[in-house]
Subunit: 336 residues, 2 copies
Amino acid sequence: MKALVQGVLQGERRALARLLTQIENRREGSDDALAALFPHTGRAHLIGVTGAPGAGKSTLVTALAKALRGRGQSVAILCVDPTSPFTGGAILGDRIRMADLAGDSGVFIRSMATRGSLGGVASATRDAARVLDAAGFDIVLIETVGAGQSEVEIARIAQTVIVVEAPGMGDDVQAIKAGILEIADLLVVNKADNPGVDNTVRALKMMLELGHPVNGQMRHHGHLMTVDFPDAPNEDFWMPRLVKTTAINGQGIDDLLLAVDAHQAWLRDRDRFPQFESAQIRNELLERVRDSLFARWLAEHNAEEIEAVSRRVQARTIAPHDAVANLVVAPKAQSV
Amino acid sequence: MKALVQGVLQGERRALARLLTQIENRREGSDDALAALFPHTGRAHLIGVTGAPGAGKSTLVTALAKALRGRGQSVAILCVDPTSPFTGGAILGDRIRMADLAGDSGVFIRSMATRGSLGGVASATRDAARVLDAAGFDIVLIETVGAGQSEVEIARIAQTVIVVEAPGMGDDVQAIKAGILEIADLLVVNKADNPGVDNTVRALKMMLELGHPVNGQMRHHGHLMTVDFPDAPNEDFWMPRLVKTTAINGQGIDDLLLAVDAHQAWLRDRDRFPQFESAQIRNELLERVRDSLFARWLAEHNAEEIEAVSRRVQARTIAPHDAVANLVVAPKAQSV
């Protein structure tokens, strides 16, 4: 592991790929490796790209990566699919589509099959993003399917969140949009050459305007709010920008890049990066505390004890809430 | 609360609606109310209905509810939308579509806006389903958008899981299907009057056959596997059934009902209900233990302490993993 960590810090691609695998599988020494890399993190700009299936996320990510490379920035792409238990399938498809980035040593592409991953999707993604950050990439693009919790998790990790939509999605999809809009810093309407693009843009603009706190219709839960800035005055909200793209032929990608830069400059001008990171670290510590307490409890209790209580609950002689009060007794000072 | 509990047990609709609201908002006395209702649970058949947006889930649920009512069973419908922070929107749409069930005292419809709900979507849904079970409904239909984790959570709660698909969905959707197929007991291809239905049916059949353990291509992670039956022989797997429906005009609903009955009979014949419930209760107890340990830790630690450690992590003087080891010390026997 030590050699791999050294390799990663020296920019060796093979060491990077191998260390990511070790950490993904929670091999022994993972925590030490992450700790050794940790002082080298905090420099990359993390950009999350999410959206409903079929919106063309991976084509967009590929185009964005090319554009970033064009101005000399190194790019790591992390494809996270929390809905798929397979390492093949969609992820394989992404890889094929991204083949035209291959051969460029300034790009690194990594797919993660995170369904059922130990410790959850969020922490696995965070760990991998940290390794890529420590490896010295300027930009880490984190691509994920906008499904349920995953887009909220990505918002916790990435400094800039891009939500991708496409024209011609049904009524039901509007509902998903409502949820996903909350975390968007930039909103991309991709496949802008498709019919219905104007309707989609109009609908999204209306939702964005309703969502903006200045208009007061409802509280804006935008990206920065999710990490808690209770003192931020209303006029100091980032108003999510909308960009039209046709990623497949590169149209609109320059505009998207400008919007990314604008968001980054906005964050920097207000010194928001340290605030963002501080909230992020606090959340991470609390999550780890919770996991660690539970792990210790599990080590202290045997399966028979848990089974016995389960059986009483199943017989309806005790309610779950009360059963837990018995299982989690006050600190067992007497047993020390 | 006591009066509400009594009302629920006597089948009063207003008491039921009010108690659900109290419990959803975690009002004082919620745990006691749930404990009082708990001995009356375990009788309803819980059916989960999930699938990608646009597949026509709520139309199908409405049609299924009508069919169940037609043979005299009482039905509660729980609409869970973990992607929407709004109580309006899609949920309002569902209510309108379900208007033709209104006025029938044997049906009760409830929408939950669970995003950001305390204790998570899964436990909020479980609590609500228990109240409906205790209220004496024969069938509880739990409808949710098949997005990320929510379909896995529904599988933990419902005894029968129906996954709804529609023809003509894109490549990306295939990937979601792969994940969602794992939990399907019954697979519905709705909108069967749309073009492309035969292709969809063929593709799904192929996936089901590949997924079946007898064919050995990959391990079947079907519904029953998720609750762990390590000893179940291969030939004793429920092979998910595929049903074509056009819910909007009622076509195929009778077939779906037969398939639901077949699955229920299959479970009953093998005495699987108690096994399912036992695994479910064990999981619930462990989740509650974890939450309870964390709540106690939070009560014992003040914000300044957590802030101080966060700052050291942000300064990169300590890695998150090591910081947590400091925060979660061994049982503090000395402080008693």
